[in-house]
Symmetry: C2
Subunit: 625 residues, 2 copies
C-alpha cells in the first residue's frame, strides 16, 4: 500500500480505537468475555489487517491469502471486529457475540470462514501457524502467516516445540507477535514487562526477535517490515503493551481479566474515554478508507490437485506383515499419487514406517523431532489449507497431543492421525510404550473416525478411505506381524465390519479388531474342533460403527456378544459395541486389559492380561447356551 506514514498512522489509530470500542461494546452486551485482552492488541491488529496483510475479506479462504492465527483465542471479539471493519460482514453482527444463534463464539472456531483452526486452548495457535507456513512452501506460494500470542501463553511447552520446528525448517514466511501485557488471568505473568526474558528465549531458540512498544504504530509497522525482510529464520515481534489500553481505570490493572464493563455507568465511562481518542485523518485518499485498500492476494493458477490412481494392495494371503508397516507402505503409495498428502513424524519414522514417505516425497515429510504437540498442531494448520496431513508416532505418545486432538475435533479439520505400537502386544518395552487408552480418547470425540485394521490389506484400504473422508480420523496400528487375511480386491467402508466366520449354528459372536481378530480366529478353530460354532467379526471401523450388522449378529447368536481388545476396558471396543446394541436391549461381555501391564513377551502378555484365544474359549464355555 502506497500511503505516507503521516496519513497512515492516524488512520490506523482510529481503526484501533474502533476495534477497542467494538470489543468493549460486544462483551458488555454479551455479559461475558475478555475486553481488556482485546484492548492490549488493538494497535497491532489494526496494523496487521489494514497495513500489512494481503487478503480478500470476501474470500478469506483464498489459497494465496496471508493467514492470521489468533493463538490467544480469548481475544476473539477484536478478531471479529477486524474482519467486520475489513468488510467481511455487517458490523451489527458483533453485538450477537456469544449468542447461541451466532457463529461469533466466545473463542474462534472454523464455523467462521476466516478462522483456520479453533483457538482458545493456549499455545496451540502457533503450532497451527507452523502448518499454514509449511503449506505455503508445499503449494509454492509466497503467502505469509502471522500468529498473535499472549505472554501468559508463552509458558506452554507447545510454544517452544513450535519455536524449535520453525527454526529448523527456516520458516521466514512466519511472523509471530507476542502481546506482552504482563497480566494473566489470576495474577501478573511470569516475566511481567521484563522484555529481555522474552527476547533472550526467542533468540536462543533461533528466531529473529524485535522488541517494540505495542502501542506505537510506527514501531509496529517497522517491525512488520523488518520481519518480512528477514530471511532464513522466523521473526517474533515482542510487543510491550498494557492490558485494557485506552480506558484509564482498567489500563495495566490486575483483576480485570475476562470481565466485561458493566452496562450503564461503567460501560459509558469506558466508551466516552475511547471515543475521545479519535484523531483527524485525511478526508480523501486511501487513508480515508483503509478497508477499501487492503492488498488482494496474488491470483495465480494453482495446479489442480487431481490425485493419480493408486495401485491396489499387493499382498499374498497369509503373508506376515505388521499393520504399522502396511501403513507406511500404503502412505508412501498415496503420497506419490497425491501432492496434498504429507507426513509428519516425531523421530520414530523407522518404527511407524513413515520413513517410506520420506523416501518417495522428502519435501512433504516434516520432521518434528520428539515433539508431538507441534506435530499435531502443524497438521491442523496444513489440513486447514488443503493438505491431507498424516501425523504419526507410537499411539501412546499421541496422547501428548490430547488437547490438540480435542481442538482438532472442535475445528473439524481433516487431520489423519496414526498411532502404532498399540496395546500389550508390543511386549518387552513395557507399559510406558503401550497405548491402552487411545481408542477411548478418539472415540470420545463425536466427529472422529476411528479405524483399526487387522491385516496389511485392510490397513492399506482403510488408509486410502481415511485420507479422503472429511474430518479428523485416527488409525490404530499394531507392532506384531499378522497374517494377511483379506484378498487385495477386498473392499472396506468407513462404518463397516467383516464377518469372518459364520454359520447357522453359531452360539455367540466374538468381536475383535487388530491383533485380537487372530485370537478370535484361534478360538474359533479350537471351539470348532470341540463341536461349537461361533461367529467372528473384525470390527475394523469403531466409529462410525455398523450398528445394524452388530444387532443382526446378536440376534443370530442368541444375544451373546463377546468383545476382545488389546485396550483397557473403558472406552474401547466393548463400549463401542455395547452402545451400538443397547437400543435393542443387548448387553456385551467384554474381554479387555483390566490392570496396569508390565514387560514380557507379546504372547505372554496377551495371555496374562486376559485377551487371548484361551480366554475367549473359556467365556464361550461358561455361556448358558
Amino acid at each position: 500500500m502506497n500511503i505516507d506514514r503521516a496519513s497512515l498512522i492516524p488512520a490506523l489509530k482510529n481503526i484501533a480505537t474502533r476495534l477497542r470500542i467494538d470489543s468493549v461494546r460486544a462483551t458488555s452486551e454479551a455479559g461475558s468475555g475478555h475486553p481488556t485482552s482485546c484492548m492490549s492488541m488493538a494497535d497491532i491488529t489494526a496494523a496487521l489487517f489494514f497495513a500489512e496483510m494481503r487478503f480478500d475479506p470476501k474470500d478469506p479462504k483464498n489459497p494465496e491469502s496471508d493467514r492470521f492465527v489468533l493463538s490467544k483465542g480469548h481475544a476473539a471479539p477484536i478478531l471479529y471486529s477486524a474482519w467486520a471493519e475489513a468488510g467481511a460482514f455487517d458490523r451489527a453482527e458483533l453485538m450477537k457475540l456469544r449468542e447461541l444463534g451466532s457463529d461469533l463464539e466466545g473463542h474462534p472456531t472454523p464455523r467462521l470462514p476466516f478462522v483456520d483452526v479453533a483457538t482458545g486452548s493456549l499455545g496451540q495457535g502457533i503450532c497451527a501457524a507452523i502448518g499454514t507456513a509449511l503449506n505455503a512452501r508445499r503449494i509454492k506460494s509466497d503467502y505469509r502467516t502471522y500468529v498473535l500470542l499472549g505472554d501468559g501463553e508463552s509458558a506452554e511447552g507447545s510454544v517452544w516445540e513450535a519455536a524449535d520446528v520453525a527454526t529448523v525448517d527456516k520458516l521466514d514466511n512466519l511472523c509471530g507477535i507476542t502481546d506482552v501485557n504482563a497480566l494473566g488471568q489470576s495474577r501478573a505473568t511470569m516475566w511481567e514487562h521484563d522484555m529481555g526474558q522474552f527476547e533472550r528465549r526467542w533468540k536462543a531458540f533461533g528466531w529473529h526477535a524485535i522488541v517494540i512498544d505495542g502501542h506505537d504504530l510506527a514501531q509496529i509497522l517497522d517491525a512488520l517490515a523488518e520481519a518480512k525482510a528477514t530471511k532464513g529464520q522466523p521473526t517474533m515481534i515482542l510487543a510491550r503493551t498494557l492490558k485494557g489500553k485506552g480506558v484509564s481505570f482498567v489500563e495495566g490493572k490486575n483483576g480485570w481479566h475476562g470481565k466485561p464493563f458493566k452496562k450503564g455507568e461503567e460501560l459509558e465511562r469506558a466508551l466516552a474515554e475511547l471515543e475521545k481518542q479519535f484523531v483527524p485523518v485525511p478526508e480523501a485518499g486511501p487513508a480515508a478508507n483503509l478497508s477499501g485498500h487492503i492488498p488482494k492476494p496474488a491470483s495465480k493458477p494453482h495446479g489442480v490437485d487431481n490425485p493419480k490412481p493408486v495401485a491396489p494392495p499387493a499382498y499374498k494371503m497369509g503373508d506376515l506383515v505388521a499393520t504399522r508397516e502396511a501403513y507406511g507402505t500404503a502412505l508412501a503409495k498415496l503420497a506419490e499419487a497425491d501432492p496434498r498428502v504429507v507426513a509428519l513424524d516425531a523421530d520414530v519414522k523407522n518404527s511407524t514406517f513413515s520413513d517410506r514417505v520420506e523416501a518417495v516425497a522428502p519435501e512433504r515429510f516434516y520432521q518434528n523431532f520428539i515433539a508431538e504437540q507441534v506435530m499435531v498442531g502443524a497438521a491442523m494448520g496444513l489440513a486447514a489449507r488443503g493438505a491431507i496431513p498424516f501425523p504419526s508416532t507410537f499411539a501412546c505418545f499421541l496422547s501428548r497431543a490430547a488437547d490438540f486432538v480435542r481442538m482438532s475435533a472442535i475445528s473439524n479439520v481433516g487431520i489423519k492421525l496414526a498411532g502404532s505400537h498399540a496395546g500389550v502386544s508390543i511386549g518387552e518395552d513395557g507399559p510406558s510404550q503401550m497405548a491402552l487408552e487411545d481408542l477411548a480418547m478418539y472415540r470420545a470425540e463425536p466427529n472422529y473416525t476411528v479405524l483399526y485394521p487387522s491385516d496389511a490389506v485392510s490397513a492399506e484400504r482403510l488408509l486410502a478411505l481415511m485420507a479422503y473422508h472429511p474430518g479428523p480420523a485416527y488409525m490404530r496400528t499394531s507392532r506384531p506381524k499378522t497374517p494377511v487375511i483379506y484378498k487385495n480386491e477386498e473392499t472396506f467402508t468407513i462404518g463397516g465390519l467383516k464377518v469372518l466366520r459364520e454359520s447357522a449354528a453359531d452360539v455367540a459372536t466374538v468381536i475383535g479388531a487388530g491383533i485380537t481378530v487372530f485370537e478370535a480366529l484361534k478360538a474359533y478353530d479350537q471351539l470348532k474342533a470341540a463341536g461349537t460354532a461361533i461367529r467372528v467379526i473384525d470390527l475394523y471401523s469403531l466409529q462410525p460403527i455398523d450398528r445394524d450388522a452388530l444387532v443382526a449378529a446378536a440376534r443370530a447368536t442368541g444375544g451373546r456378544l463377546i468383545t476382545v481388545e488389546d485396550h483397557y476396558a473403558a472406552g474401547g471396543i466393548g463400549d463401542a459395541v455395547a452402545e451400538a446394541v443397547a437400543g435393542d436391549g443387548f448387553a456385551v461381555h467384554r474381554l479387555a486389559v483390566r490392570e496396569i501391564p508390565r514387560s514380557g513377551k507379546p504372547e505372554e502378555l496377551v495371555e496374562r492380561f486376559g485377551i487371548s484365544a484361551k480366554h475367549i474359549v473359556e467365556v464361550i464355555r461358561t455361556l448358558k447356551v
Copy 2:
C-alpha cells in the same frame, strides 16, 4: 567422600565400564533394549551414584535421600546396574531384564523401590524432578534432586515448562544433566553436538549451564560440585557424549538405537573391547570399594504428619454453591489441617478457587503459570515423596497433560487431580473451554478413582476421601451454582452412589452426576405431577462404581436405566453404568452430548445438546412400561 581424585577417577572409570558391560549383557540376554543409550551416560552415572549422591541402597525411600530421576527411561538397564553395583540387589538379577517375572522392566516403574515415578515417555522425568525438589523445601530437607535427560528429549515442550518453573521457584536443589549423544531413534538429533544450542536455551531460561565432556570424569565431578555450589537457580550440566561409547564399532554411529548386540560374535567383540578398559585402582582404601562408601542420607527426625481434625462441611440445604467453589473451600480446610496437602495451579486459581489454599498455606501453593504438563508432572514427584498434591485447572486443559495422567497411572502415584468447568453447562465461552471427554480419559486408566460431586457437601466430603485414598484420583467439578442437597453429616464412600428418589412404583431409573442430577430431579417432579414415578440416582463415584446398587435399581425398575451426562456419549457415565450392569444382561439408554457444541447460555446449551429434564421426560414417556 574424602578420596583423592587420583584414586577416585580410576575407580569410577571401572564402575562405568562395569555399568556398560551390564547394560550390554542384559539387553543382549533380553533380545531387546537400548544398550548404546546406556553407554553414553555410563561415566555420568558412575560419578553421580558413587561420588556425588547421598543415599542408602538398602533404604531407597529414605525421606532425606538424594533423588535420581532417569528422564530418558529407555536407558533403564544402566539405572538397574547402578543400583546393583551400589548393593541394592544381586547383580545376577540384571540378566532377567524385561522378563515377565522380573520388576526390571523395559522402562523403569515404581514397582522398583528406588524408582519414584515411571519414565519412558520422554520429557516427563524433569517435571517429576521439579516435584521432588519442591518436596525437599516442603519438608525442610537439604536432599538434592538429580535428573538425567536425553538430548532428543529436549525437544519436548514439557522440558521447557519445567525449565521455567524451576527458575521461577529458584530450585537450586535441582541439578539436570543432559546426555548430548547427538543421535535420536531414527536420525541425528535436532542440534547434534552443537553444545551452544543447548547452552543458549538453558541460560535464556534462567538456569546455570555448564558444558562438559561427558566422558571426562574430572569434568563431571567439577560440574557436579559447581552445581551444588550454585545458589538461587537450578543447574543444567550439558554433557557432550558419544552414543555407544566404549565399543568402537557402534560408538557415535547412527542406526544403533534400541538395538542389543547380537549374541555370539557381535556381543563377544563388544564385551572384549569393554573388558580391556578396566584400569588399575588402589587395592585398599575407599576407592577400592566405592559402593561401601556411599554417603548415607542425614537421619533427622521428621515431624509426624498427623493431620489435625477437619471441621465438617458447613452448608445449608438449598444454598447455591458451585462445586468448583466448594472444592476450593474444602481443599483450604484440608491444607490447614494436613501439612502434606499441597495445591498446584496453572494461572486459573480464581476460577478453580484453589486460591483459597494460597490464602491459608502460601508455602504449599505452587504456581506453574499456564503450563499444565509440568503442573501434573511436579505433582507426581511430590506424591512420590509423601506429599498429597492437588493439581487443578479447567478440566479441558488437564487434557494437555493426558500423557502425564497415563504415566501417573503406570506409576500408581497418589496425585489428586481436579478439573473444573466441565461440560456444556459452562455456557458462553464455547467448546474450547468445555471438558466433554475428561471422564473417558480418567476412566480408561484402571487404577484411577473418578469422582463427580453434584453439590457442595458431596464435593467437600469426596475431596477428603480422595486425599487419603491410595493411588491417583480425579474429581470433576462444575461451573454453575447448584443447590446443596445433602446434609452436612451425610457420608459418602469411594465406590458409592446415592438414591435420591425411590418408590415401589418407579418405572425407570435415571442416573446422573454433577449438574445432570438436578435435571433428573426436575424430570422427577414433572413426571410425578403427571403420575409417573422414577428412581433418581446421584452417581458421584464413577470409578469404582457401585455395581450391586445399579443392578438392584435396574431390577426394581423393569430393567430401564437412563443415564444423563454433561459429557460426550463415549467413555462417560453411560458407558460406566452399561459395563457395570452388562453381566446381569441389562442395557442402558444414554443421554449425552453427541455433537461438537457451541457458545450460548448454560441452560440453552443443556437443552440444545439433549441432556435437560425435558429430554429425560421424553425418554421416560417413550419407554414401553
